[in-house]
Symmetry: C2
Subunit: 341 residues, 2 copies
């Protein structure tokens, strides 16, 4: 038994295929009674539009994805979500990888040559002034992904990094920590900056001073996390918790701490950000902030489609994050979570 077509629905609802098509595509200019009849027919026949046929007629919308740092798990998941959403919307995702600004210019040009109607720009590119300016010259709408402070005239999807970092601080406070150190992310990385500000503000609001020796530099890599952890833990009085700007660095902190004979979380609590694969692989698992990458990807595709339809009208979407509590910050007394109930 093959799938129902628009004609099957039309017959059942006693209308023309045209009317069914109208209902499917927003249902404007259709009598309410008629629309209901059509909807009922669609439901009873389990009708689903044949995207291939639709695309054959309408042509496909092509959405470009400019990948600045391929290989990262973030990007795999993002691509996956974007592809799937494109499939559902009858759009096509075309992906180009690139490195420096020159290769980026070339990649973006290839995207436009391949008739991309819009370009998705994830980090780190969407945080680089020069990259963005270059892309704007292309005259296709762009959607910035996970940039903490997107320009108003560019569509963007992100989480609230500031609030998320505050949530993490409250999690640490609730577990009894007061002396909390912080490992910074890359200087140009806007979400990392916001996370740092949230750390500072949370400390102050809680009545504590941000001691300079409690803030270490890092560049989001495991290796830089190793160095930062060493600097932080070599001091005679150690912090009771370390908040690293991402999970790679948090994992490094755990390794260093264990190397020094410290137990995590009993002697030192550790937390990260992003919910990268390494956070779940390592033992103890890293408490972190989960970015809803799949949904961010889907939202980005939707914003892209809107941007094309509405000729570049920019829109911003802020998606909810979640705190994932793992073993690296488990409360010593086992009732930490009650603080949130």
């Amino acid at each position: 038994m093959s799938a129902a077509t628009i004609y099957d629905v039309a017959r059942k609802a006693r209308v023309s295929a045209m009317t069914v098509s109208r209902v499917i595509n927003g249902g404007v200019n259709v009598d309410e009674t008629t629309r209901d009849r059509v909807k009922a027919a669609i439901a009873s026949l389990q009708y689903q539009v044949n995207q291939a046929a639709r695309s054959a007629r309408k042509g496909v919308l092509r959405i470009g994805l400019l990948l600045g740092s391929p290989g990262a798990a973030f990007m795999s998941d993002f691509q996956l979500g974007a592809m799937d959403q494109c499939g559902q919307e009858g759009a096509q995702l075309i992906v180009e990888k690139c490195g420096d600004l020159d290769s980026q210019r070339a990649a973006a040009a290839r995207l436009v040559e391949n008739s991309a109607d819009c370009i998705l720009v994830p980090p780190p590119l969407c945080d680089l002034e020069a990259s963005l300016r270059q892309l704007e010259d292309l005259c296709v709408p762009i959607v910035a992904v996970a940039s903490a402070r997107p320009a108003a005239h560019i569509s963007a999807v992100r989480i609230d990094d500031y609030q998320a970092a505050k949530t993490m601080m409250h999690h640490l406070f609730a577990a009894g920590h007061r002396d909390i150190a912080f490992i910074q992310g890359e200087p140009g990385h806007s979400p990392a900056q916001l996370r740092y500000h949230a750390y500072c503000d949370a400390m102050r609001v809680a009545g504590m001073r941000v001691r300079p020796e409690r803030v270490a530099e890092g560049v989001l890599t495991y290796r830089s996390g190793l160095a930062a952890a060493q600097a932080l833990l070599d001091q005679p009085d150690r912090p009771s918790a370390i908040f690293a700007c991402n999970d790679d660095m948090a994992a490094a902190v755990i390794a260093v701490a264990q190397g020094m004979g410290l137990r995590v979380p009993q002697d030192l609590a550790v937390c990260g950000f992003d919910d990268a694969p390494i956070a779940a692989s390592v033992w103890p698992g890293v408490t972190t902030i989960h970015q809803p990458i799949d949904e961010m990807a889907r939202a980005a595709v939707q914003l892209a489609i809107e941007a094309v339809r509405e000729r570049g009208r920019a829109r911003h979407r802020v998606l909810p994050y979640t705190l994932v509590a793992r073993e690296s910050t488990a409360a010593q007394n086992g009732n930490q979570s009650s603080a949130f109930l």
Copy 2:
């Protein structure tokens, strides 16, 4: 300027659209001269088939993907490659996740209900007798992915785990190691078994005995790697190298070694298998065997399409692996690689 169609090519080559279509689809029953003319026209016009139009006429082949352990990086990459290949072949990938045997039965049923014409079965499912038997009852062809010993009547794509593990052993030998320990993978995992056999065989061929206390158990998780490393390194005479059955466990070995004050690779060389993200994140980076996941995914899709066309004719593909040498096994004297030249 919109894209060239089959008619543009036909006009340029002075043939009918039908003939162009024949050339595109394999070119059988076409005069050689004619074919060349068509091919030239295709090239000069940069013609590419419009998959949407093609699918509208032919209908889409639907390939199911049964995900037994979602979240793993292996699976993201696999899915990505499979999706992309499906896009190129005008097929559609439908993904279902599942856990135990019951939920797997339900997921597979959903796949068939959604008219999957074939099902891709990655690990761990393709290593489970019960899972496979259940899937065979569905009467759709299946393709096993990364199973080390696939049944002859099932299509399969994999690497040669045995040879790959031997290559790793030769790498360690070349770096001067003789006392090499091994951390096993999950008992039911066929690739892990083969890796272990390769380890044993390589040791014997090199004239060494496999000492039982040099073989530790593990279940492919970081945590089990921690325990195995402890068991291996707590002995009075330590091995000079540890070969872990996968990268998660190798990363754990490094953490334990560093915690004991051992330098990697100077005091202890470590290697893993799979080239998982953690292998590149951690410091020192883990020397490992890279599985060509992207190509395995594409090959699996192609095998699936063949299986559907040829009514279940099974075919096996073995893809090449590569050894990725990172810091965790760097030779002390710096000229280890010369052994391979």
